[in-house]
């Protein structure tokens, strides 16, 4: 028997049809839906008189547009946002799909709600009209983002037309040093491979440093597989995974749990399986990192300096020049001397309980620097409740942070949470693109602990100095 990768195994288990030219129909186990990329898809179903084929496997939650202020229960003031969220309310009701409305404590960012509620399970295929669907790969599920036309296709047929991607292995060996987190791993990988390094591939993350991560950390790593260009990121399920999943509302129970577990334990890459591309990084070589430019590949250790365009080759020279101009940075400036105006802690990358604990650990007994605006946006209502129970909310508020309700918030700034032009933000989100957090806003990506450190000193800071 041919040795298979984890990706090969999940793919084979979901192949509903294969045409002679290799075009496949891949069966989809879970379809997550949010308000921004779905209205046109539901409209398409209506116009064609089609139904949702498997409403019980379809889960919707509004997250991108929802305000995160406490007064949101009185309604969304931005009319377009309100219409989009109302459209999701209507579509969820009309098509009979699972739904967590804004008023439900379980509401939150779709990629946090799915795992939290046990919808995401090992060995599944998971899609969503959102590129950060890669997050669910942390469970050993094949999970990737799709466009709205494909959302409609999955709603109508529960399948996707696909060609198989190549296999890529990213191994993080050994142990991480103190102050280095899952976010630093995933940024360091993109820094090494580039934003197109994974194009056409599904990445399997492995190695001792990955095994040692919690599920929260693994979700952070897989979440940014898309920033490395990969279709999906995967981590083979193990005891850490099974422990996280067990007892969740939609996880299997009793005999079904045992049957599921038996299959999940077969979900690993066989000895000798072929990878088309292999990247290996030593865990101890990874430092706390930040981004300096407007692409997630613009990664450097916090101990580094702003590079010059001439440090690069090809199209990157002009791209770096443009980035530095946009970011308002001078080559040669130590990264740790860059002042920040705002700090954002949240997003599907770093809005889980462990992220909030890591940030609170740094903020405990400290205050946010004068003139800096800080915002913590939990990834779901349940994360928020747990953080309040653990006393984290008090730490954030005592430090001077705003303690918000759940949503995507300033990760993409579709709701009122936005940077002003030229405002500079230390952010735990996933993209530092031009205008991402607000028109002409400037984003530096980093881990929650690093963002908390920046809040305390008012500039990009090596968190190890505050530990």
């Amino acid at each position: 028997m041919t040795a298979k990768t984890l990706y090969d195994k999940i793919w084979d288990a979901h192949l509903a049809h294969e045409a002679e030219d290799g075009t496949c129909l891949l069966y989809i186990d879970r379809h997550l839906v949010h308000e921004v990329t779905s209205p046109q898809a539901f409209e398409g179903l209506r116009m064609a008189g089609r139904k949702v084929r498997a409403p019980e496997k379809t889960i919707a939650v509004p997250d991108h547009n929802v305000p995160t202020t406490i007064d949101r229960e009185t309604g969304i003031t931005n009319e377009e946002s309100r219409i989009q969220v109302e459209a999701l309310d209507t579509n969820a009701r009309d098509f009979g799909i699972n739904y967590y409305p804004v008023s439900d404590i379980r509401q939150g960012i779709v990629h946090i709600v799915g795992p939290e509620q046990g919808w995401t399970l090992p060995g599944m295929t998971v899609v969503c009209g959102d590129s950060h669907t890669a997050t669910h790969g942390a469970f050993g599920a094949l999970a990737h983002g799709i466009g709205t036309s494909e959302v409609e296709h999955v709603l109508a047929t529960q399948t996707l037309i696909q060609k198989k991607s190549k296999n890529m292995k990213v191994e993080i060996t050994g142990k991480l040093r103190p102050g280095v987190t899952a976010k630093d791993i995933t940024l360091a990988v993109i820094g090494k491979t580039g934003t197109a390094g994974g194009t056409g591939h599904v990445i399997e993350y492995c190695g001792e440093a990955i095994r040692a991560l919690s599920m929260e950390g693994r979700m952070t790593v897989c979440n940014m597989a898309i920033e490395g260009g990969a279709r999906a990121g995967l981590i083979a399920p193990d005891e850490t995974t099974f422990e996280y999943v067990m007892g969740r509302p939609h996880a299997p129970k009793g005999a079904q749990w045992e049957a599921a577990l038996a299959w999940w334990k077969t979900l690993y890459t066989d000895e000798g399986a072929h990878f088309d591309k292999v990247v290996t990084i030593k865990g101890e070589d990874i430092a706390p990192v930040v981004t300096w430019g407007t692409s997630p590949e613009d990664v450097l250790p916090i101990t580094g300096k702003v590079p010059a365009p001439e440090d690069f080759t090809g199209g990157k020279v002009e791209a770096a020049r443009r980035s530095l101009d946009y970011m308002g940075l001078e080559p040669g400036t130590p990264l740790s001397e860059i002042p920040v105006d705002a700090v954002f802690i949240g997003s599907c990358t770093n809005g889980r309980i462990e992220d909030l604990r890591a940030a609170a650990e740094i903020l405990k007994g400290r205050k946010i620097a004068e003139g800096v605006r800080g915002m913590v946006v939990p990834g779901s209502g349940l994360v928020r409740a747990q953080a309040e129970e653990e006393g984290l909310a008090e730490i954030f508020e005592a430090a001077g942070f705003e303690w918000r309700l759940a949503g995507c918030s300033m990760c993409l700034a579709m709701n009122p949470d936005q940077l002003a032009p030229q405002e500079r933000c230390a952010s735990t989100s996933n993209r530092n693109f031009e205008g991402r957090q607000g028109f002409k806003g400037r984003t530096h990506l980093m881990s929650p602990a690093m963002a908390a450190a920046a809040a305390v000193t008012g500039k990009l800071t090596d968190v190890r100095e505050l530990m």
Partner: protein
């Protein structure tokens, strides 16, 4: 879906790598519940200043390129989010073909669902077409999907690769969902078998 057979028109040069979907269509325009009308906001933050006036320097604002039907760009075009609003905006502007050394995966797939042809070519071919595109209205380019060729203003031909199934759908303007529903019995059979082997799903 609109067919794509041949396309002849002006190509606009955008010699930037990593053009992301936030650049193509910023998030404030994702609040629509329609597919149409996004062309005016294509490349919004590069195309307009803070007061909404056109930036003269941006390629699509230059007289020679206002009617461009083809875009020639740098590596990793369309990286970032899955928003189909990006190809919707490109198409609504009037561009039906994007040529670059490489594309981000989701954007690339989204193009085909909207009658847009994304063509990945070796860097040297893109460089040649970028030079042609710099000549503006004096450089008309023809793209022929059937023969998989691009003909430049000087008559030189460049051939390109494309997946046979995607080509077939684009040439005939086929609806994916309709095609898949023809295979409903295969999906039914798979579902029945999966209900036995993985009943917890």
């Amino acid at each position: 879906m609109d067919k794509f057979t041949t396309l002849t028109g002006i190509a606009a040069p955008l010699p930037l790598i990593n053009v992301d979907t936030d650049m193509i269509i910023p998030k404030q325009f994702l609040k629509t519940i329609k597919r149409e009308g996004l062309g005016i906001n294509l490349f919004d933050e590069m195309r307009y200043d803070a007061d909404g006036n056109e930036n003269e320097d941006f390629v699509l604002n230059k007289p020679a390129y206002r009617e461009a039907k083809i875009l020639v760009a740098g590596d990793n075009f369309g990286c970032g989010s899955s928003r189909e609003h990006a190809p919707w905006a490109i198409k609504d502007f009037g561009i039906r073909c994007v040529i670059a050394p490489s594309f981000a995966d989701i954007f690339y797939n989204n193009c085909f669902k909207n009658g847009i042809l994304p063509i990945a070519l070796p860097q040297e071919d893109v460089d040649k077409l970028m030079d042609d595109a710099e000549r503006g209205a004096n450089a008309i380019i023809t793209v022929d999907l059937e023969s998989q060729t691009i003909t430049g203003p000087d008559g030189g031909e460049i051939s390109f690769e494309i997946d046979a199934f995607k080509k077939h759908c684009l040439l005939n303007g086929l609806d994916d969902i309709g095609l898949t529903l023809e295979k409903a019995s295969a999906i039914d059979a798979f579902e029945a078998q999966a209900a036995q082997s993985r009943p917890w799903v």
